[in-house]
Amino acid sequence: MNAIELQGIQVNMGRKPILKGIDLTIEQGDFMTFLGPSGCGKTTLLRTIAGLQKADGGTIVLNGKEVANGETAYHMDPAKRGLSLVFQSYALWPHMSVYENVAFGLQVRRQSKAEIREKVTAALTKVRIADLAERYPGELSGGQQQRVAIARAIVTEPEVLLLDEPLSNLDARLRVEMRAELKRLHRELGATIIYVTHDQQEALTLSTRIAVFFEGEIVQLDRPQTLYQRPATLQVADFFGNGGMDTNHLPAELIAADGGRIYLSSPVCSFPLEGITLTETMPVILTIKPEHIQLHRSYAPQSVPCVVEAVFPAGAETLVKLMTDGSELSARVLGDAEYSCGETVYITLNPEHMNLYNRDSGILLDRVRPSVPAREMIRA
Amino acid sequence: GTEAAANGQNVQAVTTNETVDQLYTQAKQEGKVVVYSTSGRANDAAETFMKKYPGVKVEVSKVKSDEMMDKVTNEQDAGQFNPDVIITKEVSGAVGKEMVEQGRYLKYLPDDIAPKVDEPYRTKAPGYANYAEFRTIFYNTDYYKKTPVTNWWDLTTPEFKNKVYVADPLSSPAFMDLFTTMVIHSDDMAAAYKQKFGKDIQLNGTENAGYEFIRQLFANGLTVLKGSDDVLDAIGKTASGAVGIAVSGDVSKVEENGWDVKPIYDIQPKTSVADSGYLYIANKAPHQAAGKLFIRWMMGEQDGKGEGLAAFNEVGSWVPRSDVKTKNPVGFEQLNLWDYDADTLYMTSPKVRDFWIQQK
């Protein structure tokens, strides 16, 4: 059954359209992540699903039941939708202790004192703040407050859990632990989770599906691997560089050769393609991730020589900026790379990891693949 | 503190022999006169005064009599001498005791007018009062063709069960004074009781006939209202068998307010006790001559014909001057009133108030 079904959700604020027709189906047990630039409407959509924001258009169906309908202005009370939400700004109740904050939802459900105590303690332990139960939110650090917000949301073991950047203020270690906790919750309770994050790593490791937003619209909805490997538009590809490190863009062309064969022609490679027919040359953008560029110290078969422009060591890995034929490329290598500026290195690129986009529309040429027999790279 | 005491030792006398012309000449130099008044009538007199004596401006402040005592006491103790003329009612003898005896308010009775003034205001009272009113019983003229009450004790009879209204003496000392006077003159009350019921009064744990009267009044279902107006409203708006104790001065408002009421001017043993509107010169009055001139004006000048008197010579109030004709059906002298015994009242009224409070 579909846990959540959104159809044509439109939300305006102050006359400005914020969500411009969102269609989205989230299945029971999905771990759906919303990803998108700051201000694109992720929080707004979450709030709309929760019922805190009225939809001006479209319908929301929760577990087969319509809970909001923009056309008939029907709007079910958020309290009755049975969701949990971690607010981006936490929204802890300043007048209640941590314990009371977390216990509130259980008290509303009229559970027994003993049961509440047990559950609250368990939730607080999960977020590693069991010893702060008697403190007030004002006496906690930012990260501790955020954990209270998480505990408050998970303590009721909700079927649908909405999380708005719940780990943004936690240290790396805690983040990993919390992720594991969320995964466990997801698995053990079969909870449906909608997750908003800016951490792509998080999105990729946690989600079953990811929705990428731009300016109030879903641009791509896919499994994490697919999304990562084949971003639907250039915009998504750009946005979705790991840790913000840009995907390499190279201007290229699709050339229709005699016999209907199509060739890709770019500064760094050229090979035959299939899955497309063309009559004239088509300008495209070729993208490849820095980690898919392999560096060799000496000439390797089908490699292209480059000059090292700059080296950025970054702990576990190193980013190497290269220049070839007037195009700039970034390559990522694990560990400390011992390259020096001005040095010449040789790169090889795997056509499997390349994506081609229409240069005008920026849309992925989805079915275009290197021809099977011609998998080896050909120097332009 | 000490200054007040010093004032008390040697009460200053005010010269009383100046002529109007002398006073006016001086008053014009003083330029104005400041009046503290409990009564709005001062304003009316002021208007005519300023027409008559141009160059002397009258400024009137309206203050309740008890507040005025505090105000003047505090001012004078702080060395501020603001008012020239004081127009005030008595507050259970306190004005006499605490202000006049202490020399804060000074008696002023011009020599040329004094002979025409009735007693007690000529010599006995602490000051001259320009008018006197009193509390008495009012009845509805639609309901009663003749006065339903002749004796205060009538009010304690079953005929008037739940039919007597009074303005709250707790917030209006002048009403309390009436009852205090009854306590003081308990012999009179006892006699009236005998006259009415033909037997000696039986005191049910009370001290004397005065207290007993109050007790029985309550026992008979006395209804206390906020003010005198409310009492007249209660009995005068519609035909009603109820009677009310209200101020005689309210007679002047009867027509305007559409009350069908009449006061009773003869009740046994005595109708009431006078409530006088005194005129004093304030101690160290900065515009003394103007003050005197204004008092003279309110007194009606030497001949009693001065326009300043008009505001005070109304139905329901009496000007205690032999040469002034009252607008009331009975003259002041014919009124059967108890003497206002300031000293005794002053000492007794708290006790009566206590008694009153305990009746509830």
Partner: protein, 612 residues
């Protein structure tokens, strides 16, 4: 521990430590302003209270009247014993205080429900006609409370007090029961109608700036509306609600006008009746003991308030992460609710106002004939036979003077009282854990309970001559302004502190980091954030100052005559229409001020802090 050679150094260090501690302490605005504030309060409030207190232990000349044992100038417990432990104390003190407390508690609760409920509807829901309702809510406060009591009588009066029967009785031909016409019920009703505006404005200001995510979070936890109100909104509004409670409580317990009209016919006396009576009977000391007892009761209330507010850690609802203000949808109830609210409020506020207004155009009260309509009471000259020839209000020579004085006094004192109240409220709120904050809070509350007459009598002595650096203010409007400010401090300080408690400390800190001095912070951050509470304070003080008589009647001199002293005169003489004309003029002024304040002060209760 310290060896001898180290002593000079450690001594020096100790000295500089002490110095730094002192300067550091003073540099904290709470302490500095608190100290200045306390000095001000000490002079204007504590001193008078101490004088009153001392006076209750000394025999006075007048006491000879009550007991022969009196020994003027000497120490005695007599007055306390008389009030608290004599045969008269049940009637003089215990019964009235019981009545008064019962009335005060009930009034506070009812006002709380009315005021808070209305405030919530107006600020947190999507109720229509909010602005109109907000305006209507202020109107009952414009009318003097005795007018409401009178209106109550007009409606519910029965034959007990004679006169024309009440409207209800005339319509139904059934005798209105006494309990409905007089005593406890009508007193409570009148006072509640009149005073619930305190709750409305205080809580409304607090609610309108509350971050709605706090409610939303509770909603997400599955809590229904009632529970959200009870568990989230109510506790967070606690400072405002408790302030409202204390204010209405003390106002009710010390109210005089309403119980005098509605209580006396059934011998329902309250402590204020006794107090007033003692005053009038020149038993000043007795009055002082009574008012000190009232102060004691209120101090207990404030102490309890501290226990509640102090224990709870935080009431911060305005934080550095703001969120969109969402309104609770009333759903199908939206229109019916608005209709009911508007109708009810029109009944209690507009109808009495209109009746008063109509009366001013009627030559004789209650006569509805064409020739009875007149502008006489507004513009007419002297006609003998109507109010003893009293001229229309606008013709009264002192009207213009009084109007100017009134406006001047009300405007200046309300601005000063509101700002001083906010500043002292800041001290009370931010210093709620320190003695200085608590002192300011407690002390600033006394003026409500010092009988206006006593306070003004003492002020005459204090300000008749220059003292220290204080000039002789007596005889100028400045003393009236001062006393009005002082008398209204309890309200403005409470409003200020309740409001400041809501504001997160980091908002001030971030301004501090930006290099702003305390004054800049106050002006640019606190003042605008507290704008609504400030404007409420301003408005109520303005109205209060326009209505005030008791307090200033002794301080006015002919040059400082005000509109209220004019009314006072009319009331004394029973000139109903003229009184109403002045009342209407005052109300018109207040309405104009209200309009300007909400329009230009951007203090519309129905909107949030920033943006919409």
């Amino acid at each position: 521990m310290s060896s001898k050679s180290l002593q000079p150094i450690s001594l020096k260090r100790n000295r500089s430590r002490l110095w730094n501690q002192v300067t550091g302490w003073l540099r904290n605005p709470v302490n500095l302003i608190g100290t200045i504030g306390l000095l001000f309060l000490a002079y204007t409030i504590i001193w008078p209270v101490i004088e009153i207190l001392i006076a209750t232990f000394v025999w006075k000349q007048q006491d000879m009247r009550i007991t022969a044992a009196a020994n003027p100038g000497h120490f005695t417990f007599y007055h306390w014993q008389r009030v608290l432990a004599s045969e008269i104390s049940p009637s003089l003190f215990y019964k009235p205080i019981l009545h008064a407390s019962a009335v005060a508690v009930t009034v506070s609760f009812i006002s709380m429900v009315l005021g808070c409920g209305l405030a919530w509807l107006v600020t947190r829901t999507d109720l229509p006609f909010k602005k109109g309702i907000t305006f209507l809510a202020v109107i009952p406060y414009l009318l003097p409370s005795w007018v409401i009591a009178q209106a109550w009588l007009t409606f519910f009066k029965n034959e007990k007090i004679g006169g024309t029967p009440g409207i209800l009785q005339s319509l139904t031909h059934m005798s209105t029961p006494d309990w409905l016409a007089y005593g406890f019920v009508p007193i409570v009703a009148s006072l509640s109608i009149h005073d619930s505006v305190y709750f409305f404005l205080l809580v409304g200001a607090a609610l309108s700036s509350m971050n709605s995510q706090l409610e939303e979070a509770a909603s997400m936890s599955g809590a229904g509306r009632a529970r959200i109100l009870r568990r989230i909104v109510f506790p967070l509004m606690l400072p405002a609600i408790l302030s409202g409670f204390i204010l209405t409580f003390t106002r009710a317990i010390s109210s005089y006008g309403v119980p005098a009209i509605l209580g006396t016919p059934v011998d329902f006396y309250m402590i204020s009746t006794m107090l007033y009576s003692s005053m009038r009977a020149r038993l000043t000391t007795e009055a002082h003991v009574l008012s000190l007892m009232l102060m004691l009761i209120s101090m207990l209330m404030i102490y309890m308030n501290h226990r509640i507010v102090g224990r709870q850690r935080s009431f911060v609802t305005v934080t550095g992460k703001d969120s969109h203000k969402t309104l609770m949808p009333l759903g199908r109830l939206r229109r019916p609710m608005a209709a009911v609210t508007v109708v009810l409020m029109t009944l209690v506020s507009v109808v009495p106002l209109l009746i008063l207004l109509v009366q001013t155009f009627m030559l004789r009260e209650g006569v509805y004939t064409a020739d009875n309509w007149t502008l006489h009471y507004w513009l007419g000259g002297s006609i003998s036979g109507i109010n003893s020839g009293e001229k229309g209000v606008l013709q009264n020579p002192i009207f213009l003077l009084a109007l100017r004085n009134s406006l001047w006094i009300a405007a200046i004192s309300s601005v000063i009282a509101a700002v001083v109240g906010l500043i002292l409220g800041y001290v009370a709120a931010r210093g709620k854990q320190t003695w200085i904050g608590r002192m300011v809070d407690q002390v600033s509350f006394f003026p409500y309970l010092i009988p206006g007459i006593s306070l003004s009598a003492i002020y005459i002595t204090m300000f008749a001559k220059p003292h220290f650096i204080v000039p002789a203010l007596y005889g100028t409007v400045w003393l009236i302004i001062l006393i009005t400010v002082v008398k209204e401090l309890p309200f403005t300080v409470k409003a200020g502190s309740a409001s400041v408690m809501q504001i997160g400390g980091e908002l001030e800190e971030s301004a501090q980091i930006s290099g702003a001095s305390w004054w800049t912070r106050f002006r640019r951050i606190l003042l605008p954030l507290n704008r609504k509470s400030l404007l409420s304070a301003f408005l109520l003080v303005f109205i209060g100052a326009m209505k005030e008589t008791e307090l200033i009647i002794m301080l006015v001199t002919p040059r400082t005559e005000t509109l209220t002293t004019l009314t006072f005169e009319y009331v004394e003489k029973g000139y109903t229409q003229l009184t109403n004309v002045v009342l209407m003029i005052m109300i018109a002024i207040v309405i104009l001020v209200y309009y300007l304040a909400t329009k230009y002060g951007k203090a519309d209760l129905t909107t949030g802090i920033g943006g919409q």
